[in-house]
């Protein structure tokens, strides 16, 4: 396959950026999107140009490091992470636009690399159960109904990639935050901190400059792990419950 790539290049956080056009050839349909970018970068290095910077690590769809907007869609046309998107989903001769996540709370670091540390601060504000090492009772001391365990798991699958924020017209982090709130609040172990958790995490989320939710639903459509949209409604219920005291 031969492709035309239009990639966002930006030297640093304060530098102006622009779309730059590259041609790549010899692309196999079995390559992942990142392997296609590797091919481009190998050529750029050989020419003495700076390779395109992008975050990536596990390349098996679980670490959440990679993420780019491909042809206007977060992680591209398939519902998966960028590293698990394969070139068989493109046609020979295609022109592909590649941009970083665009959101006020995710400033660009360089090229396709953005700063997602706001997510870490949201988790630090309450996305945990306070259980210092050594203090735990036997694992079977508190049975957890399978339904609750399954709901917790479904929400705990979030990989923190930020696609939900990138896809949202408001740059909202509601789906990310609700996934953690629901994961922990549905478990008996999470009950003691149920109210403070949701209050603190929503406050932290707002303080980081994420936008509000207008029920567009783009977040859940873009989520590579299928965090369900009703997760946001569940968080709103938790928030109201906490507000009522």
């Amino acid at each position: 396959m031969n492709l035309t790539l239009r990639i966002w290049r930006q030297a640093g956080p304060d530098a102006p950026g622009s779309m730059t056009t590259y041609q790549v050839g010899g692309i196999s349909p079995d390559m992942s999107f990142l392997e296609m970018l590797d091919t481009l970068n190998e050529e750029l290095i050989t020419l003495g140009d700076q390779p395109v910077a992008f975050d990536h690590d596990c390349r098996e769809g679980i670490c959440g490091a990679c993420g780019m907007v491909i042809n206007g869609q977060a992680h591209g046309p398939e519902r998966t992470t960028t590293c698990q998107l394969h070139m068989r989903h493109f046609q020979d001769g295609d022109t592909i636009d590649v941009e970083p996540w665009r959101a006020a709370a995710f400033p660009v670091v360089k090229d396709l690399v953005v700063d997602r540390s706001a997510f870490d601060r949201i988790i630090g504000s309450g996305g945990y159960i306070s259980a210092p090492t050594g203090s735990a009772p036997d694992a079977h001391a508190t049975p957890v109904p399978k339904e609750a365990a399954d709901t917790a798991f479904e929400h705990a699958e979030c990989i923190g990639c930020g696609a939900c924020v990138a896809a949202c017209p408001n740059g909202s982090a509601m789906l990310f935050t609700s996934a953690k709130v629901v994961h922990l609040n549905v478990l008996p172990q999470g009950a003691p901190e149920r109210a403070s958790r949701v209050r603190n995490m929503v406050t932290a989320m707002d303080a980081e400059g994420f936008g509000g939710c207008t029920n567009t639903g783009e977040c859940a459509t873009a989520c590579p792990k299928g965090i369900p949209l009703p997760s946001i409604a569940a968080m709103n219920r938790e928030f109201l419950r906490a507000a009522r005291g």
């Binding site: 590797d38 050989t46 700076q50 698990q84 394969h86 694992a139």
Partner: protein, 648 residues
Amino acid sequence: MSDYSDYRVGEPIADTKAPTGPIEQRWDQRRFDAKLVNPANRRKHTVIVVGTGLAGGAAGATLAEQGYHVVQFCFQDSPRRAHSIAAQGGINAAKNYRNDGDSIRRLFYDTVKGGDFRARESNVHRLAQVSVEIIDQCVAQGVPFAREYGGLLDTRSFGGVQVSRTFYARGQTGQQLLLGAYQALSRQIAAGNVEIHPRTEMLDLLVVDGRARGIVARDLVTGAISTYTADAVVLATGGYGNVFYLSTNAKNSNATAIWRAHRRGAHFANPCFTQIHPTCIPRSGDHQSKLTLMSESLRNDGRIWVPKAQGDTRPPAEIPEDERDYYLERIYPAFGNLVPRDIASRAAKNVCDEGRGVGPGGQGVYLDFADAIRRLGRDAVAAKYGNLFDMYERITAEDPYQVPMRIYPAIHYTMGGLWVDYDLQTTVPGLFAVGEANFSDHGANRLGASALMQGLADGYFVLPPTLNDYLARNPLPAVPTDHPSVVEAEAEVEDRLNLILSVDGDRTPDSFHRELGELLWDECGMARDEAGLRRALARIPQLREEFWRRIKVPGTGQELNQALEKANRLVDYFELAELMCLDALHRAESCGGHFRTESQTPDGEAARRDEEYGYAAAWEFTGTGAAPVLHREALDFEHVHPTQRSYA
């Protein structure tokens, strides 16, 4: 300079920290003997933790909970992305919730035997003891393990054992355990007890007056090089499987932290003990940038086979039952498809070498779920393995519900690592190594679902009390930032990066890495022999020399420069690869993941030579390309008597 393979044998090395006496009581005794730091004094101590995976994340959170000031580093943009996150199958614990005959002693026994009698008994027993507390801890943190309808925890079996002791969270156990540790760590970061430095890579260890007192690190965004001092340093930086270029490790996992520590005096033990995982997706072409594991748990229900005839290229559905060779079930009837990883990998290589492999290039075997789908139904199979099947289909464009998976072995884990004593302290006082970064518990082969167990055991339960003891016993005067050792280490890091940037040659970092990886896979991979290892030892110095003539890294050191990061890690991989080959050459026996073709039983199994090689090999660095010094740690087996492993 002497020839690299002309190594010298130095003084034997011994673990002086494990108490003697009944093995069941050693850990209790050690904790009782350990001195404590007064809780009010703990905040005066700074501990550096490098890495935020299961071992590092757990250690950082726990030390901070105890009151220490923790300064923690990861090269990823967030501590949540450490490669522990990719572990799929599960975590072992001797809970015996199944009432199937499990016990701490059995987990201990299975691990020593599974490691082919090259691990230290005291450490392994402690690991088995601590395993039960890990599950309790993780459940309390909200880790969503799989549960039965009664609300109790579900378990499954894994390779190399006959009990069901593996706790799991669908195919994402590593992710869920890591998020548990990450959340505990995040709580401590928010509380100001942990100072976190993401996107910051350790590039050297500061050794001052014979003790580890800090690190030199590079901010990967600005390129700024800084020194950080502390009272102790904990390395939780994972294994070195990426030296092979193609492995199941994350792309950025690397050996630089442990290798720089090795260069500063920490002995490196058993570097040739690398694990090749039998169930990975075969490579699809030269563009391949990494390999993807399919969890070993699939072997619970999947059946592995190849055609009986060589060169049989019919589609699998057209090959009748009596023309298939379910070779693991045939050769190892007692364990069948659940033999340990090293055995399953070698068996796959053997059938492929016989010309019976399937898929492109004949480098694959089938992992077939047709029987399981018939027996359990598609829904039940999907509930257990759905995400793995989806992942397989995404990568290969083949539907494993319809067509058998194709799998082939790939580098997955490294049992070798920094030598540590029972306290997890390296040969540099004040430098500790936890998780995959150390060599301690898995001997020559790790059992499935034991990496998560060891990482969390080290981080949550083992390191905190032993580190406590070190801090309580040793005077640790503040290190001035203009101390000659500090200034010199920082200058060396700067010089090396500048040297890489100054070459301006014509080859990319990845092109060198691929070449080194292929060489290692061919000569120091699934089967090794003297001639091949000597070829590799001759070739590696040539490659290194070529690197310093031809490497090309555009840009500067004062910015985010991913090509520079790669090239800098390669410098260490060249030296590490050399030591791996030397270790493999010197160990003229087969054991676990280390298979020397010269040392096998008549039916092709690994033949250990306990009399000559019943030791851990701890290597001392003497200079780039210079012959290292071998220190042997004799291994005594009081409780599990070495036998030829048999899984038949």
